[in-house]
Amino acid sequence: MYKQKQLGRGMYQLFCVAVGLILMAPIFYAVSISFMRPEEILTTDLNLLPNSLYLGNYQIAIEQTMIFRFIFNSFVVAFVASFVRIILASLAAFSLAFFEYKGKKMFFYLVVGSMIIPSDLLLVQNFFTVARMDLVNTYLGIMIVFFFNAMSVFIMRQRFLTYSKFLREAALVDGCGNFRFYAQILVPSNIPVFATVFIVSFVGVWNTFLWPLMVTNVNEMRTAQMAITMLNIAEGSASYGPGTVMAAAVIILIPSIAVFVLFQKRIVGGLMTGSVKG
């Protein structure tokens, strides 16, 4: 009876792993293709595994593009933009949750109201603003439109509002100034919420494609996402082919997957305690 149960549990886990592997099949496919010679790829016969570990695709991807620079750019942009976003959002939420002042209601509605304005639709106009600020081809230019996010402010404000009044007042009576209260008590005790907002932001910025495409036109500033689609333009030549694109894809995937796997536990932890309250 016990053994049967254990067997059942084993089967269950096996099933789950199988589902996960099927789900990730596209990634295995990309890895496999990236090691194939062009003639193995350019065929109508099904070839799921490379005949040998051919590294030529990686060589072309690395030699012909500044792929590591592109990945670095993507990281800088996603990381810094998300970092600034949580600071901006938490300061604004701090102001909205703990102070009483003229116009507060209006500001709050401005924040909430902006949630229904999809930011992607503003890209064209924002491009001209950023260009007028002379920020084309700069990290700041790529990041600046991601600094503010209404949802982040909203989530943090909701969180701060649940704060025990006693704790706050005790801290203040203790002679702890407003900013110190923010920096030394509010921030450290809300790391999970910060983590959640940071992750949501990181994923969002990491994924953006259209905006970096518009605000950069030099190699040094391109992000990995746009670079890989540019590699793809080399359609149908003998030296560049799907293999090169897949090799570039794998190179881009490695750091992001590594970071994700490393931090996944923390992400879940952050999401659990700082769970989103619509």
Partner: protein, 310 residues
């Protein structure tokens, strides 16, 4: 003001003027960075766009003449724009609910901690770490009618991305795949955060279990569901990455034959590739209106069911 009193423990009037002024402006200071970004990159472009949509502008965006509603009538009678709107709705209705359901189902599968749960949790969530451009490239090859694995594996001969009847579906599949990890992770965390006894009771038989799911678990995780729904809609209403990467050829967006044209790719095609800002501005405003309606609708529908006392 209560805070200020509490912090200093003496009447406000007793403070020096400089401090008083600082205390007045202090909350605004904290708000300022966020607010300036909000105004500069959300409200300013929004308002500029709406105003310009009532004018005729040339291809360098110089205002030439007042146009009244002409740009709107032009866009709203343009078959290709109407097709883009239709496709956008199909895109939202297909990608958002399906990704959430799959993410939720996977979260239910993975909610129990087991020896190997780390392995499949990671696999389920991994698509979140893979950017849409990268996965688009991978699927592009997999969809290829002659060299791609999909046709080869299943013995099909479908031109996935270039046949009007399958192109939008092909993009939807990629988008769902890409959303699964994100939705899974949020649902999974929400489930893990539920009280232990709720989780324990999942050992019951089928009938009771489905009642448990619909009457207890779903209401408990409804805030997360709503968050995913809203952010999913907002994203799906205005995303064009897949269209621009996979189904745009030499200036013609949303190929084949407009089958994958969505609102955002329409705007990009007209404004950036075609420098026809008249049509683009009007289309943008229409896009605003439509997406706010959809979001408001989702909000109203959900308000009734969402439970906030988690």
């Amino acid at each position: 003001m209560k805070l200020r009193k509490a912090s200093l423990g003496k009447p406000v009037s007793a403070l020096p003027l400089k401090t008083k002024i600082f205390q007045r402006v202090e909350p605004y200071l904290y708000l300022l960075p966020a607010l300036s970004m909000l105004i500069l990159f959300t409200y300013y472009p929004f308002i500029t766009n709406v105003i310009h949509s009532f004018f005729t502008v040339d291809r360098f965006r110089r205002v030439r003449a007042f146009a009244g509603l002409r740009n709107y009538s032009r866009v709203l009678t343009d078959d290709s724009f109407l097709q883009a709107v239709g496709n956008t709705f199909i895109y939202v209705l297909a990608t958002v609910p399906i990704s959430i359901v799959i993410g939720f189902a996977l979260a239910l599968l993975a909610k129990k901690k087991t020896r190997f749960s780390v392995v499949y949790e990671t696999l389920f969530a991994l698509s979140m770490a893979i950017s849409i451009a990268v996965i688009a490239m991978i699927f592009q090859l997999a969809y290829n009618p002659s060299m791609g694995a999909i046709n080869q594996l299943f013995g099909l001969s479908i031109s996935w991305l270039s046949d009007p009847s399958t192109a939008l579906l092909s993009l939807i599949i990629i988008q769902i795949w890409s959303n699964i990890g994100y939705n899974f992770l949020f649902m999974f965390s929400a489930l893990r955060a539920l009280p232990e006894d709720v989780m324990e009771s999942s050992r019951m038989d089928g009938a009771v279990r489905s009642r448990l799911l619909f009457q207890i678990i779903i209401p408990l995780v409804s805030p997360t569901l709503l968050f995913l729904l809203m952010s999913g809609i907002a994203h799906a209403m205005t995303s064009a990455s897949l269209v621009l990467i996979l189904t745009t050829t030499h200036g013609a967006t949303g190929q084949p034959g407009g089958a994958t044209e969505v609102i955002m790719s329409f705007i990009y095609g007209r404004a950036i590739m075609g420098t026809n800002f008249n049509v683009a501005y009007a289309a943008t405003t229409v896009g605003f209106v439509l997406s706010s309606i959809v979001m408001a609708l989702a909000l109203v529908l959900d308000r009734k069911k969402v439970s906030y006392d988690v």
